[in-house]
Assembly symmetry: C2
Homo-oligomer: 263 residues x 2
């Protein structure tokens, strides 16, 4: 059995405490109360992770709620169903990020898109939209978007964020830019000819990262950036795949924001 | 037909000029000379990319040599073989990076390792070694290392670097650290409790990035860092997969080095 007092160290050291996502609308708490989890999450905890009565878990509600809990009882329902009863020990609430990091990237083909969403989620991006550009090849359909939302929830469970990476609808470049013309928005477009990520001023509430397709931005799109407040930012010297470029610019912005918070 | 004079723009804009890797030991040049390419690279150019006489390509020799060339003739040999004759138009040589970026990361399972090597290559890392730590699960065998070397060459072709990412043998953490105790080496270990990437002084010749397994560093390993000059560096607030952590710290270091070069 893991003592609750060990958990602080276990979190910091990234040794996996098993996490359970509670269904939408279920309230975490109050502390000391019991919560019953069934379905896939219960099955995963009991049959895949082989957790037992007394084991500690972390509960996430996907809306900033995070609770430490102990497994109080495990019961079997019918042929495949499991039910796990949890004693809630400690609840914390996290606000959304003060500066939202939004990634608008041309969709890569096949599984690369899911892998990119997983990585963006781990790195702490807040929102992802597939970006439709002149040279985009892929325009993901609803079924694919649904898979990306599942990937984002799975990733939340794995990496321990309190809010999932939100997956938005495919959106055209011109529309993103027209919706984002505010002094509180910092607009960055990844491009081999660009420079460093600009300073993120205190008034900024959203950083929008635009990542084009592997065919590059069209001349018209580059003109659109030139006639707006968009900053062209470089991520590395070589020709990058979309997903590597998206991950690289997100890393740089998240690092910049973290460095700003510590000062 | 693409004029050679267009190539500058095409490179900068990342629109793919097809690249051909010449076999080990083949000299590029002199300018004006002809070079014959056969085997897989010829097959790929003719049958997959459907290039034709007059098309421009870029040749890479994997040792810093880069040439622009035009396809002069295409011939068929036997049942499946192709031969492409190239007229070399312009040769450039690139030195290795002044500061070598070396990534020592615990090997991820399955295809994730190949994908990580591909991303590290695109981002400009110079060397990758699988890192053996107390909690490492995977110790890649020779067959896997051979696949990683092929991945690195494929990636060189795709992203246009002049030297491939080098793939080294699996190595133990203590050995890396004992080999790297020099004032010309900056040693950084990724850890959730770490800080920013330290300033990379002018005397630094190698930056070694250490990335532990998903189980985290052991207490003994953390002590080893504490009693050495290693800096603990953070890459994001969440629990990262090995490959995301490796890509993130590489991105931050490469960006830092690029920013230093522009000053």
């Amino acid at each position: 059995m893991v003592e609750i007092s060990d958990l602080g160290i276990r979190y910091a050291r990234a040794v996996a405490v098993h996490r359970i996502i509670v269904p939408l609308g279920v309230e975490l708490g109050p502390e000391g109360s019991l919560l019953r989890v069934e379905g896939d999450e219960a099955h995963h905890a009991v049959r895949v992770k082989r957790l037992e009565v007394g084991d500690a878990v972390e509960l996430l509600d996907g809306r900033g709620g995070r609770a430490r809990a102990l497994i109080k009882s495990i019961a079997k329902h019918g042929k495949h169903g499991w039910s796990v009863e949890l004693a809630i020990a400690k609840i914390a609430r996290e606000d959304r990020a003060r500066v939202m990091v939004e990634v608008y990237a041309a969709a890569a083909k096949g599984e690369r898109l899911e892998e990119m969403v997983d990585a963006l989620s781990q790195l702490g991006a807040d929102l992802f939209h597939p970006l439709l550009t002149e040279r985009s090849i892929v325009d993901p359909r609803e079924g694919k978007l649904e898979r990306l939302r599942r990937t984002a929830l799975e990733s939340m469970k794995q990496c321990g964020r309190a809010w999932p990476l939100e997956i938005g609808e495919p959106v055209k470049l011109a529309e993103v830019m027209s919706r984002a013309s505010s002094p509180r928005v910092l607009l960055c477009a990844a491009d081999a000819t660009g420079g460093e990520i600009p300073k993120i001023g205190d008034s900024i509430e959203r950083v929008l990262l635009l990542v084009g397709p592997e065919g590059g931005w069209s001349p018209a799109e580059l003109n659109l950036f030139g006639s707006s407040s968009a900053a062209l930012v470089r991520c590395a010297g070589n020709t990058l795949r979309v997903e590597t470029a998206a991950v690289a610019v997100t890393t740089l912005v998240v690092d910049r924001l973290a460095a700003g918070r510590r000062r």
